[in-house]
């Protein structure tokens, strides 16, 4: 009986989704003006929350609440210029304001929104123009937002907003119009590859899990983003949590899974709060739990917090951590799709991967696969940081060149120094020198030059940056974060770091470089997991392209040997 009631409630929820699909998606508030204030961690750290409060107070004070809607949103991208606020007024050009302070917020309401609504002015007052950003600039115009589509448009704490913008339609389509295998096929056809960094074909992973038999089966979301400077996943979790939940639901249906786990690092309190809120809303709306939307499909989600170990982003360590054990990797095979969480078939995807799923179902695999390159489909979100003018969260189609990302979207180097190199892939990635910036961003091209796509960290370096120090920084990070299980990583990392520190301090010898290369090779070949296998990458890639920065620091160089240091060049 209870089940029938649940099914009935589910069907009602389904009917509401169908009703919503009849009219165009988008804002339904009817407000003539909308203020979108970034409410993500980055803008909040710059005071974004009080800016939103000021807007609310000003709108109330001017008695405009029925005409103006204030929407606290997810990240709008240009984090370096936050807090960001976008103002959209019927009949007016959209305005993006940067570095907004509470006082400016009050001025925007008093001197711009109010007079426009009252028909007194039809242009942005001159004095406010110093706060605006050009929405037609390459930063906004050359991005292609699929994963970040809703960020800046919806209130991440409102399921109604998500549904208004087309949310959960893809889930409904999967449950009622597609078989699990159809869904797997669709994802396969889309060419989507894992956004956590490895780039494993998502559809294939789902197929393995779909075919595996177990008493239970799990879908796991890896939200243990730990690369220094990276915040793609926190951006998505904070800005569009329902997209991740919908992606996991579709994954659960496609793989015939029984439940799902979100593993999120505890250092992301806002992401955790929003995802937990979204889960509650989804349950209430019959989108999680038994007989979802009245179908036979039952699935629920649970959140597990990671205690801040980088290695727990490695899937077998992550599983151990969810199980309450020490977070150390174990050998594969068996792969988690065969024997994962509690020895049951489990598939693990990254936050960004899940955020792509509903979009693929909605636009269709064919359409999706038109974006990107032959082997890397879709878009990629990057956290663009370092010596770059427009630092922030950006999403670009795969295949865009590094040059376009850095110089157009990023607006080039911030300051007078020349660009030197771009680092991708975080501590597992490498440094790509200026002369290779024509490289299109896709999995295989980046790997070919000794870096990796990684989860989306992209750091711009200029001529003032020492690459020996950069290599030391990243290696120091992986040494600190090594789980301590396997010898090549545990000891090799420390030995390399010690030698690197010696070189950086000017006490190095040529033999140290030779030793570093030899240890790096052993680490790559004999480490158990990705952390150790890729830890030497920052060192090796800087050695490959900038060896002279190392040899310049080695005093014993004779200036006549085979190395490429300055003394040697001078001798020639």
């Amino acid at each position: 009986m209870a089940n029938e009631k649940l099914i009935q409630k589910g069907l009602e929820a389904k009917a509401r989704l169908e009703e919503r699909a009849k009219s165009g998606f988008g804002d339904t508030s009817g407000a003539r003006a909308k203020v979108y204030g970034c409410n993500s961690t980055s803008c909040r750290s710059a005071g974004g929350e009080s800016v939103i409060d000021s807007f609310n107070q000003a709108v109330d004070a001017n008695e405009l609440s029925d005409q103006v809607r204030i929407v606290p949103t997810g990240c709008m991208g240009l984090c370096a210029k936050g807090p960001l606020v976008k103002v959209v007024i019927d009949g007016m050009e959209d305005q993006m304001f940067k570095e907004v302070e509470p006082m400016v917020a009050r001025l925007i309401v008093a001197e711009y929104i109010t007079p426009v609504l009252e028909g007194k002015i039809s242009e942005l007052p001159e004095f406010l123009k110093q706060y605006t950003l050009d929405l037609n600039s390459p930063f906004f115009a050359s991005q292609q937002k699929i994963v970040l589509q809703n960020l800046g448009h919806i209130n991440p704490e409102s399921i109604d907003d998500y549904v208004d913008f087309g949310g959960y339609q893809a889930l409904k389509k999967c449950l009622f119009e597609m078989s699990p295998q159809d869904v797997v096929n669709e994802i396969k056809e889309s060419g989507l590859r894992g956004r956590g960094g490895g780039g494993f074909p998502t559809g294939l992973k789902w197929q393995f899990s779909h075919d595996a038999e177990g008493d239970e089966k799990f879908v796991i979301c890896n939200g243990d983003e730990g690369d220094p400077g990276a915040y793609m996943d926190s951006g998505v979790l904070e800005g569009d949590p329902h997209a991740v939940i919908e992606g996991m639901l579709i994954a659960g249906y496609a793989q015939r899974a029984t439940s799902g786990w979100l593993y999120i690092r505890a250092e992301y309190p806002l992401a955790i709060k929003r995802i937990e809120n979204a889960i509650r809303q989804a349950r209430k709306n019959r989108l999680l739990g038994d007989n979802i939307l009245g179908s036979d499909f039952s699935f629920d989600l649970e959140v597990r917090l990671g205690a801040g170990a980088f290695v727990c982003g490695e899937e077998t360590a992550l599983i151990a951590s969810i199980e309450g054990k020490r977070g150390t990797p174990r050998p594969r095979p068996p792969y988690p799709t065969e024997s994962g969480l509690w020895k049951q078939p489990s598939s693990i995807n990254n936050v960004e991967t899940f955020a792509n799923i509903a979009k693929i179902i909605n636009m269709g695999a064919k359409e999706y696969s038109k974006i990107g390159t032959d082997k890397s489909k879709g878009t990629k979100v990057f956290a663009l940081t370092g010596r770059v003018r427009n630092g922030g969260l950006v999403e670009v189609p795969m295949g865009m060149t590094l040059d376009e990302i850095v110089n157009q979207v990023g607006g080039g180097v911030d300051g007078d120094a020349e660009l030197k190199a771009v680092q991708t892939g975080g501590p597992s990635g490498g440094v790509i020198p200026k002369h290779l910036l024509d490289l299109p961003v896709c999995y295989d091209e980046l790997k070919a030059v000794g870096s990796i796509m990684g989860s989306g960290g992209m750091i711009v370096m200029d001529e003032d940056d020492s690459l020996v120090d950069i290599a030391k920084f990243y290696l120091g990070f992986t040494v600190e974060e090594s789980c301590g299980k396997c010898a090549p990583c545990r000891i090799g990392g420390q030995q390399m770091l010690d030698k690197l520190t010696k070189i950086a301090a000017g006490d190095g010898k040529k033999q140290d470089v030779t030793d570093i290369k030899r240890i790096a090779h052993a680490m790559q070949k004999a480490s158990l997991c990705g952390l150790g296998q890729t830890a030497p990458n920052p060192v090796l890639s800087t050695l490959k392209f900038f060896e002279s920065e190392y040899t310049d620091k080695i005093k014993e160089c004779c200036g006549g040997c085979a190395c490429s240091c300055n003394k040697n060049e001078a001798a020639k």
């Binding site: 170990a309 290695v311 020490r326 150390t328 174990r330 050998p331 095979p333 040494v479 600190e480 974060e481 090594s482 789980c483 301590g484 299980k485 396997c486 010898a487 090549p488 545990r490 000891i491 090799g492 990392g493 420390q494 030995q495 010690d498 033999q511 030793d515 030899r518 240890i519 090779h521 052993a522 790559q524 070949k525 004999a526 480490s527 158990l528 296998q533």
Partner: protein, 596 residues
């Protein structure tokens, strides 16, 4: 039918069962892939990274210890690049290992030393990263020296899974990661049962026995003291490994000789105590079984690690536990009473040294007051087989040239039943031989004396024996990880008011029983099959050494031991007499797993 896979390893075609690892498959065709962490008893932890091999068509090397061979694989186990990687990994491990080989207890039998020598490791450019870490000697049975740990993970795996004790764990991360009692407390305050299986599986000197050899030399040097020594059953079939004998060679006679040459005043045998234990425990069983004096099943208590585990994890089983002390404790108590009176020696001047295959026995001798039933601590020192071997070598004794001699009376004579105490199922077999006689007044026929169903290395062995028309249900468990299910069965029957599933249960904490105890030799020799370390083949070969002695014995039933009869006639009166209880029995208390 088992599925087979065909592949090529180093050009050799091979067909093995599906699921066989590359490492194991290679060994089948005599291709030895080196490894430091893999041990046959435990799941591959894949920690060391030395067993890497190449598979044609794959960009990365894989670990052969945990990668199953698959159809069509072309595996290359050695080429200059692979050897180079292995050498670098070994060099890295050595750079984080103290350079203390000359003074290390494991020197000569160390798996790391062996590997380094095999790879011809010479000079290195890598500075030492060793940070001296504090040793944990708190148990006075096992010593943990984390500085020497290579993080193979065997001890943790064995402690947690094979033994189900969960005392050991890894602490910290990165380079400072170390083995320790969970939570970083002293091992003595942890659930550790001192079984020493961690030390039996350790490839280096990171986990060893608590060395008391000097203490014993000092006792022997002290002219006033009358120093008595006894040897446990399992010692005689293992010590030979230290002197180049084939595994399982029974060296009882030579061992007695060596002990006399070392200067012990009397040489007794714990096998006598085993026979005596059977008289007491067998009688205890008969009373419970025929008269219902106390609840069934009766559970054996000669294994001190098991006693410790029971007190910590199964205190509700205390009333099922045999109150008998372990055999060497009985011998100790009688040495300082019966023997002392008989010889007119002041028991205060008697020192008893027990040579045991076990580290837990070091803990047992002072576990409570009943271990001092003679008025003095009944056993003064326990030495493991490994410590004894060291002392024999220190004394310059040419073990192979020794004469075979007899033990001393009155505590040295034993039957075949006493000697089989050393392996799993042996105590039960010996007990049934005598219990049968006690109940029926007839001897168990020779052709059924061996109880085949409880021999072998199955984790839990069950059997039924008919005695006078009544069925006796027995169970034998070894490796404390196997005990849980047996206890659970007993507990659930008790809670449901049902008949107990068993009448008599034998438990030994170590897999295979005492022959594979935590104090047994860890020798690297051509007779010890690779991979290094204790394995089932060694366990069985040692057990067979004891079975052989039993088979050849004139007397194979404890109650036939003339010295035992004399002891009862002259001193104890009868099994379970008041005097027996004072000297040969103990009691148990619930103990907390963690001490605060």
């Amino acid at each position: 039918m088992t599925e087979m896979v065909k592949a090529i390893i180093d050009g050799v075609e091979i067909e093995v069962e599906k699921g066989t690892t590359i490492l194991d498959a290679a060994r089948k065709v005599n291709i030895d892939i080196p490894t430091l962490c893999k041990h046959p008893d435990v799941e591959a932890s894949a920690a060391c990274g030395i067993c890497v091999v190449k598979i044609e068509g794959r960009p990365n090397m894989v670990r052969s210890c945990c990668t199953p061979l698959d159809n069509g694989m072309n595996v290359i186990t050695k080429d200059p690049e692979i050897i180079g990687v292995r050498r670098t990994v070994i060099e890295l491990i050595l750079s984080n290992h103290p350079n203390e080989c000359l003074t290390c207890m494991r020197s000569g039998h160390c798996e790391l030393q062996d590997l380094a020598s095999e790879f011809g490791m010479r000079e290195t450019n890598l500075p030492s990263l060793v940070k001296k870490k504090e040793k944990d000697e708190s148990t006075k049975a096992i010593v943990l020296d984390p500085s020497k740990c290579v993080h193979c993970g065997r001890c943790v795996e064995v402690c947690q899974n094979q033994q189900n004790v969960h005392a050991l764990s890894f602490l910290g991360r990165g380079l400072p990661t170390q083995i320790a009692a969970a939570g970083g407390i002293d091992l003595a305050d942890s659930p550790c049962i001192k079984c020493g299986q961690c030390s039996a599986h350790c490839p280096t000197g990171a986990i060893t026995e608590y060395d008391e050899t000097q203490k014993v030399w000092d006792m022997i040097m002290e002219n006033e003291d009358h120093v008595v020594v006894q040897i446990a059953p399992a010692v005689r079939v293992a010590i030979g490994e230290e002197f180049g004998y084939p595994i399982g060679t029974n060296l009882t006679g030579k061992l007695y000789s060596a002990l006399r040459m070392m200067g012990f005043d009397k040489v007794f045998d714990t096998n006598f105590g085993a026979d005596l234990t059977i008289m007491e425990e067998g009688s205890e069983f008969v009373q419970r079984f025929t008269k219902g004096t106390a609840p069934l099943p009766l559970v054996t208590s000669c294994c001190p690690a098991w006693v410790d585990l029971m007190e910590k994890y199964h205190p509700d089983m205390i009333e099922n536990f045999s109150t008998c002390k372990s055999p060497h404790e009985m011998v100790g108590a009688l040495t300082k009473t019966y023997y002392a009176e008989k010889m007119g020696i002041d028991p205060a001047k008697i020192k008893v040294v027990s040579i045991m295959p076990c580290t837990a026995k070091k803990y047992e001798i002072s576990r409570d007051d009943s271990m001092s039933s003679s008025g003095f601590q009944d056993v003064d020192v326990v030495l493991t087989t490994r410590e004894l071997a060291r002392m024999i070598k220190q004394a310059g004794i040419k073990f192979r040239d020794l004469e075979e001699v007899e033990a001393d009376n009155p505590l040295g004579e034993y039957t075949g039943a006493g000697t089989i105490f050393g392996y799993t199922g042996g105590v039960m077999t010996a007990a049934l031989r005598s219990a049968y006689a006690l109940i029926t007044n007839e001897e168990l026929p020779d052709d059924v004396i061996d109880f085949k169903p409880i021999a072998g290395l199955e984790g839990v062995k069950e059997a039924e024996v008919e005695i006078q028309g009544k069925t006796v249900k027995i169970a034998v468990a070894h490796g404390t990880g196997n005990v849980e299910k047996v206890m659970e069965k007993v507990r659930s029957a008790r809670e449901n008011g049902e008949e107990p599933p068993y009448h008599f249960i034998e438990v030994m904490a170590c897999r295979g029983g005492c022959v594979a105890g935590g104090g047994q030799p860890r020798v690297i020799s051509s007779d010890v099959p690779r991979p290094r370390g204790i394995n089932d083949e060694i366990r069985m070969r040692r057990a067979k050494g004891l079975m052989g002695e039993d088979k050849d014995a004139k007397l194979r039933r404890s109650h036939q031991n003339p010295s035992i009869s004399k002891l009862y006639d002259d001193y104890l009166d009868a099994p379970l007499s008041k005097k027996s209880h004072e000297l040969l029995h103990t009691h148990y208390v619930a103990r907390s797993t963690y001490k605060r």
